[in-house]
Amino acid sequence: MGQPQTWDWKVAGYLFLAGAGAGAFLVAVGGNLSLSLSRAAALLGVCLVGVGACLLIGDLGIKLRFWRVLSNPTSSWISIGSWLIGLFMSSGTIYFFFPGATLAWVGMLAAAGTATYTGVLLGVVKARPFWNTPLLPVLFLVSALSTGAALITLLTAWMGLPAAPWLRRDTFGLLILEGLLVFLYMLVMVQSTATAARSAREVLRGRWRFWFWLGTVSAGLILPSAILTLAPGRSWGELSAVMVLAGGASLRWWMLRAGARRALPGESWADVLI
């Protein structure tokens, strides 16, 4: 009696794009990069979050009713998040045309909110123990920053600008932090309730093992950190940026899909998946 898939690739794609887009804004504007790069990052961030928002609306049963989500701003994390997306997209757009210190701060607050709330959205769901931890918003925020930094690396190269000297070092630092968080996350889950442990096992050794080990751990964390340490060339930095983006997308995928609920007596594992 398999019940339906609740959230699929559209939601995972949104979680990734919202994180990466908001992260790009945070890294460029928060890192005091050149005005042209900051404006480009604002535009890129707004576009990516916009595509993500379209995926989210596209995932609704009745798409034309999406405005109803906005009419009850504090009713749910979906509503709070929608307002955060709206605030980020509007402040980012205005920043692109009229960059200023106040707008930069508003944009950064909205960007931090957008990146973090995606983790809160899943983290508050008590019924799914693999998500139900304050570690999740922290992990999603750090992943947003690392994928954001990767986007800025690629954007700098595409615009033919000189690379900021700290970007490479900070990307490396973020990857180390993210790796530590992923390690802690799995450590906590493996030793948590039976359902959380089963979810963690499915990620480590089961259905999502390739997404986890190849996507997030190898492509997203180990290889890019090794490249950033050992290979100084710019094209190597760009290659590692692409890999970090792939790792961040994989992270959202296995995290979303492995969020199982506790089985009722007689329910199979397939029944309790998202």
Binding site: R68, L264, P265
Partner: protein
């Protein structure tokens, strides 16, 4: 005291015939492959020769503190004055956050109507003064339906006498659906 509708399911009387599953699907027009009410098969469990299995009818638990209502972004999901969790089809956008939040897997997405569907204790049958279809159709007479706040009601009396329990009580959702052990 206001009415608080609830149900008791006597697992000793359930014979896992799935009559309620079918009746619910037909009556509530639940799409193919989706189940608002289902009878889970538990077991066989135990050690030979003391083996057995039982059926566990599971639908919405009509929680007093429902996680699904908490997460609804449009307030389409709400607790009716009689305690039943209802979805306003005109307000539901089909975001399915409630399906992620429900610990009992009681909500399904109706692809035809593009909104979320759940057990309403057969709202329109109750309007006509009738019992939910699963209660009426139950072959073994395993389901008792009524007002939990009325101490004279059969359902309340039996819940008390038989020390009936909730599913996943540690989540503190305080369901209005109770079970007698098999």
């Amino acid at each position: 005291m206001p009415e608080r509708l609830g149900m008791l399911i006597d697992l000793k009387k359930c014979i896992s015939c799935q009559a309620c599953t079918v009746a619910c699907k037909v009556h509530n027009k639940v799409p193919l492959g989706r189940f608002v009410n289902r009878v889970l098969k538990v077991g066989p469990e135990g050690n030979f020769p003391h083996l057995g299995y039982y059926g566990l009818p599971a639908a919405c638990m009509q929680c007093t503190d429902p996680p699904c209502v908490d997460v609804c972004p449009t307030k389409a999901s709400a607790i009716a004055p009689n305690g039943v969790i209802m979805i306003d089809d005109k307000k539901c956008v089909g975001c399915r956050y409630c399906m992620a939040a429900c610990p009992y897997g009681a909500r399904v997405f109706n692809e035809e109507r593009r909104v979320v569907q759940k057990c309403t204790f057969c709202f329109e049958r109750r309007e006509r003064g009738r019992q939910p279809i699963c209660v009426q159709t139950c072959v073994g007479g395993a389901r008792y339906f009524g007002d939990l706040n009325d101490p004279q009601a059969e359902v309340s009396r039996l819940i008390h006498e038989r020390h009936a329990e909730n599913l996943l009580p540690d989540l503190n959702t305080q369901p209005g659906v109770f079970y007698c052990r098999p």
